[in-house]
C-alpha cells in the first residue's frame, strides 16, 4: 500500500521519489518509468530498464532511446575541472558534450559514460568501461578507455553455445526474460552444485 502511494507520488515529488527508491525497491523497469514521468532526462524512450542506483549527473544533456538497459552506471556530460581553472586562472571555458544512447543498448555495472559519447544501437558496454567516443552499432565495448572488442552478433553465438552446455540449459530454454523468480531457487541450486564442485575449486 505505502509502496503504491510512493510510486504514485514519485514522479512529481522528489521526497517521494527518494523514499520510493530507498524503501520501495523498484526494479529497473519501474524506475525507468518514474524517470520518464519526472521528465528531467532530455529524452528517455519506451521500455527502458534503469537501476535506481544509476547516476544521471546532467540529465538535461542526456538522450536515451528505447529499450535501453542501464546497470549501476554513471552518465556525466560536463567537465568539472573548469571550475578550478576559472578560480586559478580566470579562464572562461565550456567543457560539455551530450550523451546519446540509441535503442537496445546495455550498459554494465560501474561504467562511466562521459559527455561526447554516442552509443550505437544494440551495443553492449561492459562493466567498468569508461567511454567518451562514438561506438558503432552492435559493438561490444570494454575497458578504460573503452575499446570495441567484438561484435554483439558474434558474442551471441558464443553465449548461446555456453548456455547450451550448462547442466541447467533445459530450464533456461523455458525461461521468459532474464529472470524468473519461480525458477530461480532450482537454478541457484544447480549452478552452485556445478560451480563449486570440489574438482572445480583448486586446492580442495
Amino acid at each position: 500500500m505505502i509502496r503504491a502511494v510512493l510510486r504514485h507520488l514519485a514522479p512529481r515529488h522528489d521526497r517521494a521519489a527518494t523514499l520510493y527508491r530507498r524503501f520501495g525497491r523498484p526494479n529497473g523497469k519501474e524506475w525507468a518509468e518514474i524517470l520518464k514521468r519526472q521528465g528531467r532526462i532530455f529524452h528517455l524512450g519506451e521500455g527502458c530498464s534503469i537501476l535506481p542506483s544509476t547516476k544521471f549527473i546532467d540529465p538535461d544533456y542526456t538522450w536515451i532511446g528505447n529499450r535501453v538497459c542501464l546497470g549501476n552506471c554513471t552518465l556525466i556530460c560536463h567537465d568539472g575541472s573548469i571550475e578550478m581553472l576559472y578560480q586559478r586562472f580566470g579562464l572562461r571555458i565550456d567543457r560539455l558534450g551530450p550523451i546519446i544512447i540509441h535503442d537496445d543498448v546495455y550498459v554494465g555495472e560501474g561504467a562511466m559514460i562521459l559527455g561526447g559519447t554516442t552509443i550505437g544501437e544494440g551495443s553492449i558496454i561492459g562493466a567498468g568501461s569508461v567511454l567518451r567516443q562514438e561506438v558503432p552499432a552492435g559493438s561490444v565495448v570494454i575497458g578504460n578507455p573503452g575499446k570495441v572488442v567484438a561484435r554483439v552478433e558474434d558474442l551471441i553465438r558464443f553465449w548461446e553455445a555456453e548456455s547450451m552446455a550448462f547442466p541447467w540449459a533445459e530450464l533456461i530454454a523455458r525461461r521468459e526474460g532474464a529472470y524468473d523468480a519461480a525458477m530461480e531457487p532450482k537454478l541457484r541450486k544447480l549452478r552452485q552444485e556445478y560451480f563449486f564442485k570440489s574438482d572445480r575449486i583448486k586446492g580442495s
Partner: protein, 86 residues
C-alpha cells in the same frame, strides 16, 4: 594438414598481434598471452572467415576446453566437408 597448420598459425599471429607466435597441437588458451574469452571469440570468427567455414553451437561450446590440436582436427573436417581447398 601442414598447410592448414601454417595458415592457422598466421590467423593466430594476426589475432594476437604477435608475428613470432608458434602454435602446436598441445597449445591451450592458458599458454597464449591475451587468449581470454573475448580474444577467443575474435579468434574463432577470424578462423571462420579465413577458412570459409562456420562452427555449430555445440562445436563452439566444446572448443573452449580443447587445445589447438582438437581445433585443427575440427577445422580439417569442416574444410573437407565443405569440399574446397583450404
Amino acid at each position: 594438414m601442414d598447410g592448414v597448420h601454417s595458415e592457422l598459425q598466421d590467423v593466430f599471429r594476426s589475432v594476437f598481434s604477435d608475428d613470432h607466435l608458434e602454435i602446436n597441437d598441445q597449445t591451450t588458451a592458458a599458454e597464449v598471452d591475451g587468449w581470454d574469452s573475448i580474444a577467443h571469440i575474435n579468434l574463432v570468427i577470424a578462423i571462420e572467415k579465413h577458412f570459409n567455414v562456420r562452427f555449430a553451437a555445440n562445436e563452439l561450446a566444446a572448443m573452449q576446453k580443447q587445445n589447438v590440436g582438437n581445433l585443427m582436427e575440427l577445422l580439417v573436417r569442416k574444410i573437407d566437408s565443405r569440399g574446397g581447398p583450404a
